[in-house]
């Protein structure tokens, strides 16, 4: 008993010490594997293929992070988490990175002891309605029954929005998006709320693709971002610049196919610095100099990363929208690599 107690005290004391000096980045390198919390129920974002292998947008971010930190995209251990489990798991050290379409909000960032990276997925929350209702604007939804996914921020934003407009609604909250859309298509609900690209996917795959309208106005912004524990500046730098690096690679038209060739042939000093041929940016950050080459080789530049998981390559065909580069009319920008 006394032994256990002293272990407990030791662990707590150690924790204070480790939090002060040792960086999670060093722990991950020493451990040789990155522990990543994610989800398994969202097409294109995190799911298992026929052979039980992970794929998806959130999953790939962790693979990229493993490539950056450990040099091998396969050195990730995934932990599936529900909405209720995700923050306790991150805070208790069960996972290093939480990449689970977490919406960045001021209350979370300022009260929960966490840091957001990115954000790497910019979306919003909209409505899809049945055409036969003749609804053309979100303001006509007073008194409607709305299908919503339980245990997500969409639920709260929905209530906030209706309250702000002084309108009423009846929610029908379900645990899975399949149940939610089945409810909507059976007209259990007048409207369904989610990110518009997902609404479009379901509409396209439904029995009556012409029978539904996705209303123009978004009721909330939803910027989704990977999350880490506060107090790990080195890890935060690596992951944040990895995200920016993927955008930069798309700007420079460096892809997973041509990255080796460009690294060996380019004479542009910015490109050479970016790919670690010149200078020592990577080593200064605690990773290898060619870290961005490994990231791009494993998950591609931002455009490849997006298209492979959500875009044209998947059958989901979610348009880039705000996630396109700034020069293409989107909102994805990165600081200079100088």
């Amino acid at each position: 008993m006394i032994g256990m107690k002293s272990i407990a005290i030791g662990a707590i004391a150690m924790l204070g010490a480790t939090a002060a000096q040792a960086e999670l980045l060093d722990d991950i390198k020493a451990r040789g594997v990155l522990k990543c919390g994610t989800l398994n129920f969202l097409a294109g974002v995190g799911f298992l293929d026929d052979k039980g292998e992970w794929s998806g947008y959130d999953v790939d971010f962790c693979k990229g992070a493993a490539a950056a930190i450990l040099g091998d995209a396969s050195k990730v251990e995934f932990v599936i988490l529900t909405g209720a489990q995700m923050f306790p798991a991150l805070e208790s050290g069960e996972i290093d990175v939480l990449s689970r379409s977490v919406t960045q909000t001021i209350s979370r960032e300022t009260t929960m002891g966490i840091d957001f990276i990115g954000p790497n997925h910019l979306t919003g929350q909209g409505f899809m309605v049945h055409n036969e209702l003749g609804v053309s604007s979100v303001d006509e939804l007073d008194g409607a029954t709305v299908c919503v996914l339980a245990g997500t921020t969409t639920e709260r934003y929905l209530a906030d929005w209706f309250r702000g407009k002084d309108m009423t609604f009846t929610p029908v909250a379900t645990e899975t998006s399949d149940q939610m859309f089945a409810n909507y298509f059976e007209q259990r609900c007048d409207a369904v709320t989610m990110e518009p690209p997902y609404l479009a996917i379901r509409r396209a795959k439904s029995a009556t693709p012409d029978g539904h309208t996705i209303l123009d106005a978004l009721i909330a912004k939803s910027f989704e971002a990977p999350v880490i524990r506060q107090g790990n500046p080195a890890l935060r730098e690596v992951l944040q610049w990895m995200h920016w690096g993927m955008i930069t690679a798309e700007e420079m038209e460096i892809t997973s196919e041509n990255v080796d060739e460009i690294a060996s042939s380019s004479t542009d000093p910015v490109v050479r610095r970016f790919l670690g041929v010149e200078g020592a940016i990577g080593e200064g950050m605690g990773v290898s100099n060619d870290w961005m080459v490994r990231v791009i080789k494993s998950i591609g530049n931002f455009g490849e990363f997006y298209d492979r998981n959500l875009g044209s390559g998947t059958g989901l065909d979610v348009p880039r929208g705000m996630n396109a580069l700034w020069r293409d009319g989107g909102a994805m920008v990165a600081p200079g690599w100088q």
Partner: protein, 382 residues
């Protein structure tokens, strides 16, 4: 140890305590539990401090930013979490109480069906019990929810067998009495009647008189007030029916699922109880020329009740606890409220402890009632 305590009366008592058999083992267990509990609390508080998560139940008085859909106790976004929990608990109670009543009826019918001379009926009941008991309730709930939303007509094509009654996949809408100032006094009269009835029942054991005492006062007040009974029929306004009483498909699915699942277990309990009644009792009844139905009602069932009640207590407790699965189909009961609260506030310990306390109290309350009934059933035996 003993020296410190001294040789007073307390000390003497303590010494005699230490000489009881098993003192060391018991003392060790207490020490072990105290240290273990202290370590756990210590560790939790250290962790919570590190995670900068608020603790305590203060959040219950903060504004809750979500809607529940339906509840007996009215709740809207902007009310407190406390009210949200109360609404959730009221929904749990609603489904549990109705489920207990209906599952008993299903159990009785299926048990009698299994014992029926008709091969088809007995076989069908047997099959029903076997298949229902072998599939997880979670799946059955999802089935009923899907069945109701996809099987029933949409709002604009509502089935209306009688004027004012509408059946749609958003629920069953029924007319409801319009509130009237006299209703309050009728309620009071009902309470008075109930008190009177209980008095008559316990003092004189006159069932019919007690019934009369229960009904007469509210009826008298109702007639004196000029029979203020107007019904408000539900009407299709905008997207949905408004007014009247609404029974949502999620609630119906929950009730159906719980009733059928628990009903199958109850059927087995009741069947065992009926078979447990001595065969001679039945034969004696038949010799007296009673019809099979009267033998069942007057002779077999009252005796079977004694065998059945303890197992039924378990079955009812299970039903109450299993109502927590409603979270999977979106019926807003207490676990769903707690899940949203946990997601919004991050206060895991508080939210989960609330669920546990609620179910624990419900369980204790249910078993107290049934134990009382059980004691009464045994008393009749004399």
């Amino acid at each position: 140890m003993i020296d410190i305590i001294g040789r007073g009366r307390f000390g003497a008592r303590f010494v005699s305590l230490t000489r009881r058999p098993g003192f060391t083992a018991q003392a060790l267990l207490i020490v072990f539990l105290v240290i273990g509990g202290w370590l756990a609390i210590d560790s939790v508080s250290a962790n919570l401090e590190r995670l900068s998560v608020k603790s305590g139940y203060g959040f219950l008085f903060e504004e809750a930013q979500f809607e529940l859909g339906e509840s007996l106790i009215a709740f809207r976004a902007g009310d407190t979490y406390l009210r949200a929990f109360a609404a959730g608990i009221s929904n749990t109670l609603k489904v549990a109480v109705l489920g207990i009543i209906l599952s008993t009826m299903v159990g009785l019918v299926v048990a009698l069906g299994q014992l029926s001379p008709s091969v088809v009926v007995a076989g069908a009941c047997r099959m029903f019990v076997d298949s229902v008991r072998n599939v997880p309730l979670l799946l059955q709930l999802i089935f009923w929810q899907t069945f109701l939303t996809s099987g029933l007509p949409i709002v604009r094509n509502a089935l209306s067998p009688v004027d004012g009654v509408y059946l749609t996949n958003r629920g069953l809408y029924l007319p409801a009495p319009v509130a009237d100032p006299a209703h309050g006094s009728i309620g009071i009269a009902l309470l008075v009647g109930a008190g009177l009835a209980a008095l008559i029942w316990f003092a004189f054991r006159k069932g019919r008189l007690a019934c009369l005492a229960l009904i007469l006062p509210p009826l008298a007040v109702f007639l004196l007030a000029g029979a203020p009974l107007a019904f408000e029929a539900p009407e299709l306004k905008g997207f949905n029916f408004r007014g009247g009483v609404e029974i949502s498909p999620e609630f119906a699915a929950m009730l159906l699922g719980l009733t059928i699942y628990t009903g199958a277990f109850n059927a087995e309990v009741i069947r065992a109880g009926i078979l447990g009644v001595d065969k001679g009792q039945r034969e004696a009844g038949a010799a007296l020329g009673l019809t099979p139905w009267r033998i069942m009602r007057k002779i077999v069932l009252p005796q079977a009740l004694r065998i059945i009640l303890p197992s039924m207590t378990n079955s009812y407790l299970n039903l109450t606890k299993e109502s927590s699965l409603a979270v999977a189909i979106g019926y807003p009961e207490v676990v769903r409220v707690s899940n949203i609260a946990l997601f919004e506030t991050g206060q895991a310990i508080e939210c989960i402890s609330i669920i546990m306390i609620v179910y624990l109290s419900l369980s204790l309350f249910t078993s107290a009632i049934l134990n009382w009934l059980n004691a009464r059933a045994q008393l009749v035996e004399r």
